[in-house]
Symmetry: none
Subunit: 226 residues, 4 copies
């Protein structure tokens, strides 16, 4: 009956799913999961309401499909380029951390709608879904940094007594108040400039995390460079 190959069909189906998910994500981010209607999403996607049910079981299925289909590509792109970036700056810890901070803030800013979706949909999720969602959102983002910190600790550049899991999370967390408020909660508190925040916090973290031989981060950096 079908005039196209199964593979081509699957590609078409995937394309259609992407199209609908993009629409769903946009609407979810704008209105929250509960206030988003299937009619909204269908209109945004340019399909009929009923068509959505040919690709997704129900409204909740749209939600849980967003991480796999929309977030994973972003994360994979970031994860893929991260090692190279880290390697390129491995001789200068503060260049490296600056890069990570820039990366995190940029990616979060560009994908803030996903965080808004996550937040709006929390009440509809059960514990397992929440866990899965969060792991995708958070762990990937932190994993690379954690590994790198671990390597730096081993190399002696960072303190032996530093728990790399805690430190990696704390480093990212330092930027949360700024990112969360402006990008996710969408409150315009134009007080802070990201570059200024990064320029302040990277050295602060580095001085705090570096091995105590020098008096400050500057000497630590110097020593590290040898």
């Amino acid at each position: 009956m079908s005039r196209i190959t199964p593979a081509a069909r699957r590609a078409l189906v995937d394309e259609r799913k992407q199209q609908i998910l993009q629409a769903a994500a946009k609407i979810f981010a704008a209105k929250g999961f509960d206030r988003a209607t299937i009619a909204d999403i269908a209109r945004q996607a340019g399909v009929a309401e009923g068509s959505i049910y040919n690709y997704f079981k129900n409204k909740g299925d749209l939600l849980v499909s967003i991480p796999r289909h929309l977030l994973e590509p972003v994360i994979e792109a970031v994860s893929a380029q991260m090692p190279a970036l880290l390697a390129a700056t491995s001789d200068s810890p503060d260049a490296m951390l600056t890069l990570v901070a820039r990366n995190v803030t940029t990616v979060v800013r560009q994908n803030a709608f996903i965080f808004r979706i996550l937040l709006s949909a929390l009440p509809t999720m059960n514990a397992a879904t929440r866990q899965k969602y969060l792991n995708q959102v958070v762990e990937y983002a932190i994993g690379a940094l954690e590994n790198h910190l671990r390597a730096q600790i081993k190399s002696g550049a960072l303190r032996r007594d530093l728990n790399p899991a805690i430190a990696a999370r704390a480093f990212i967390g330092m930027f949360f108040p700024f990112i969360l408020i402006r990008e996710v909660l969408q409150v315009e508190s134009a007080e802070f400039d990201y570059d200024q925040v990064i320029a302040t916090l990277v050295p602060l973290f580095l001085r705090g995390a570096a091995t105590p031989s020098g008096a400050d981060g500057a000497s630590a950096r110097k020593r590290n460079a040898r």
Copy 2:
């Protein structure tokens, strides 16, 4: 000709509002604003559905009344005791920061349901309401710390080039990944112990923020005491 005095009446009304708000907060926290029904709240409060409308204009009014009636008392209690605590530990910056961190984590843990409510209700709020909410939640929590950091900078204990607003936010932010995930998003990542996290991050922050002459916070403190 009411049989009770206006003052007594007002007290009764306030008590009733509290009773209903407590119920609403509990339900909102558990199911999110949109999925909570008036019937849920009425059942939880032990009143009839219609009675709720004798005290609140509508469902949204329950939501916006929660900060004033449930959050402000918490914030005021914290704000009231904070100066005394900061003063008591003013000679030991890491004792002070440890105290602040303990305070923040404890208060957030005990009032996580309010944060869950706020997050779940974000999509129902317009920008102005969001702003107002956020100010109540964030600024109070950070204001005291920011002022204290400013004082420490002036006294020379902390670096001159430290922006106290950024530093205060960043310090609180460091704990976000741990608090937010476990208490607000209610994801059980039982990996971290708060005491351990605090014990790790307070010194890290302090080393990073302290004036650069000494090798660690202890010497900085000693020097500062002279």
Copy 3:
């Protein structure tokens, strides 16, 4: 127990009922029976909601009490003065009809709210109530005129073949379009002036109703005056 005589008590009760009915009538006329709330009426009457139920069985009882308590006094006043007025002008039919027309339009204008109430409440009434209500509103108003026309027919001033019941209703009816639209439906079609309408319609009716001997109403009047 009561410190006042039963008669005085009854008077007080009646006064209170009047006060509440006045309020109810005003609200019913303004918003219609169904959209009027007991709270509206209580506020307008300056009493508590519950107090209304000390004087009236329920909301419908307010409605059916309006004719007896508010309309009958008006009708009785009109009915009482009508014979005298008719007698005073009995020698000039067009003076008489002008008077009746002025009376009808004036009374209706002043009591239009009762017609608005009647119209708004029609759907809530059963056939019997409707009948009773209408009889009070319409029949009284027409009865006097009908009797007078009957007398004039007998006296030969008006045509023998005139059915006085039909003629009386038709005479009043001629003014309906003007009164109904402006006073009851409250549509501002400022096209017509009541005096002009009366000056046009009274002679028209009279010429049509008078005995055919003369060429016009003027000669009929003259003849009648002898």
Copy 4:
């Protein structure tokens, strides 16, 4: 890619709207606008409650759609045949007026439910809507007669001093007490027979409106022509 043409679709939609409006009109007429429930209407129309909202914005929209969809056809039918009827009887004023009277009473009787709806809905309308409604109902009904009277006045058959707008309204108004009470207010005062009422009132009006010299309109016209 709907399987049916847009034209067919529109026809289906219109048919459905008619079906629902007929049901709504029936219920509104029986219970009044406010006491009619969407469930009533849906049951009467044989559709689900929700389906009504696929065709009408809300309950009020049902109401305001009734004139356009149910009343206009009636008015147009009457308006269309009226000129022919008036022309056919133009040489006999009382045949003409009898025809008009028969027409008005018949149309009102057959469409009394619409008038009951309009009356019941008055309190829900603002002044502008009321005005619009009234124009549709009244002006059309009176317009043709007013024009015809104007022509008769010009031709000399009716008195020069007759205001045709007032006379047209008054003529229709004469039948109001009979029609309104029986058909609209649905009070059974079986006293009057329409034929008898018409036979009484048409000559009465005609004698009153005709030019004064002759016994009937024919001689009046002749005299006027000199």
